[in-house]
Symmetry: C2
Subunit: 333 residues, 2 copies
Amino acid sequence: MNIKRLLFIYLALVLTLGSSAVASAQDVDPLPSWNEGKAKQAIIAFVIKTTTQNSPDFVPPGQRIVTFDNDGTLWAEQPMYFQLLFALDLVKDLAPQHPEWKDKEPFASLLKGDVKGALAGGDKAILQIVAATHAGMSTDDFAAIVKEWIGKARHPVSKRLYTEMVYQPMLELLSFLRTNDFKTFIVSGGGIEFMRPWTEEVYGIPPEWVVGSSIKTKYVMQGDTPALMRLPEIDFIDDKEGKPIGINSHIGRRPIAAFGNSDGDLQMLEWTTAGTGARFGLLVHHTDAEREWAYDRKSHIGKLDKALDEAQAKGWTVVDMKQDWKVIYPPTK
Amino acid sequence: MNIKRLLFIYLALVLTLGSSAVASAQDVDPLPSWNEGKAKQAIIAFVIKTTTQNSPDFVPPGQRIVTFDNDGTLWAEQPMYFQLLFALDLVKDLAPQHPEWKDKEPFASLLKGDVKGALAGGDKAILQIVAATHAGMSTDDFAAIVKEWIGKARHPVSKRLYTEMVYQPMLELLSFLRTNDFKTFIVSGGGIEFMRPWTEEVYGIPPEWVVGSSIKTKYVMQGDTPALMRLPEIDFIDDKEGKPIGINSHIGRRPIAAFGNSDGDLQMLEWTTAGTGARFGLLVHHTDAEREWAYDRKSHIGKLDKALDEAQAKGWTVVDMKQDWKVIYPPTK
């Protein structure tokens, strides 16, 4: 091979690699499960304008903070929050060790499958369920309990694993954002330690990017070994006004985009989009009774009422699940 | 220029870049301000064994969590914590608007320069100082106050900017770790919102990697604009037993290495080094009365007593500032 030929191959290689890089940016659809439409267009336009160097809306990579609600935004939340179904399963598992629960609320109702009756006791009932199922063990032991449950428990309606009830279009969106150097945080009303054991594997979101509600912990020595024990005492509720507070505490910076689905996310979207520069707010509207569930203004779970009005007023993007999503869930394994 | 010549330049370039990459890994000292000795050897050995693919102690990049105390570990803390000097400066600035402070403790003593007298009032006095200087404004306004102060205030003894009293050897250590895909968190007893406005510029540590003590905030609407108002109420003290709790809350994973300098860091090092796999604990021992300060078991600030004994018992690395560090501070600008 002569030198001319060698140089030709090298130049051909540079040109090929160069053009394929351009192709991957322009021709490959980063959101294949999203139908063409306003929502998809708005997302892609926001990513392009905030990541293009000479754009007036350019945001440096480190500052591309975005926050996602979890229940109803990244995975389903019907017929009730999955963490409540987790607590229910634990109560059933623990019942043989607690014969007194047969006659004691909220456990008596729970064991009969009457969740509504159990929750009629309000905050006190919820705290009793939390204390029985989420406290009294070390943080390591609780993580192991969650991992075991999430690996085998199945949804009462779909019979899928709960991790198979995440939304495929949102998985693509998380990936698309991270490929473009966005930091994708979860900011959920759900328990921070209920989510962290599985969010990295399922969403690609590491524990330090998960913000949620919490109970207090106490540092104790068990012999020579330190442990963090979970106490039956609420520490922080990461919902509604709590979301901007949780964001400030854990992230310390205002997000440039926020994604939610209910009135519990209203303040997070308000806080996010009130910042200067390019901002983006998005609500997932559950409109698909056939493939998922259809609910909004009158729902007990994931009520979407005030936030839907605000979306109109403030120009937030509203995803119509039925229209905008080609599929809901990823394929089962 | 003929083709032969062009190809020669290209090949020369490849060879040069290739060999310089190798050189940077093997020959360039990543810790030039550290004298050769046990501490430097121990740090480098830990980084090599946790980042070498086939090492039994290999830790995947995402899990390379390390935590640093701030006061006395990354920057100086004498003659008193710099955040207290910040509060003092603010009290002086605010005094004209508060004529009543002349006769009211702890402010009367503070304004006479008698810090010890002011702090004689204990927790109540501290809370009053916090309330007067750290609360009552929005989080954005407080960040602006901190930024203004840190940009111009000077240390009473060295006359340096406070950001010029960070430790050059620790800056190199932070860089060395991040170059090797470690996530370098601050876990400090100092105020989380006092540190975040400047840690990225000074240490390369973004806001979401800063854990510290906090006061409560409240989400409010000021007209159409949302704000987080800082309340005169302690939320969390990130010191001693609080450090593992803060780590669990903010990071959600046990660090594999922890760096501190006082008994306030004892539980963080204990918690970190009690994990399985390769672990590393390090204490900075202030032994240099000439270039910095010398203090340990009997100091009011940064007392290092129990943790020094534990370091012996548990094999933690102890840095002797006088012996181990070639320089203390970076050059002034």
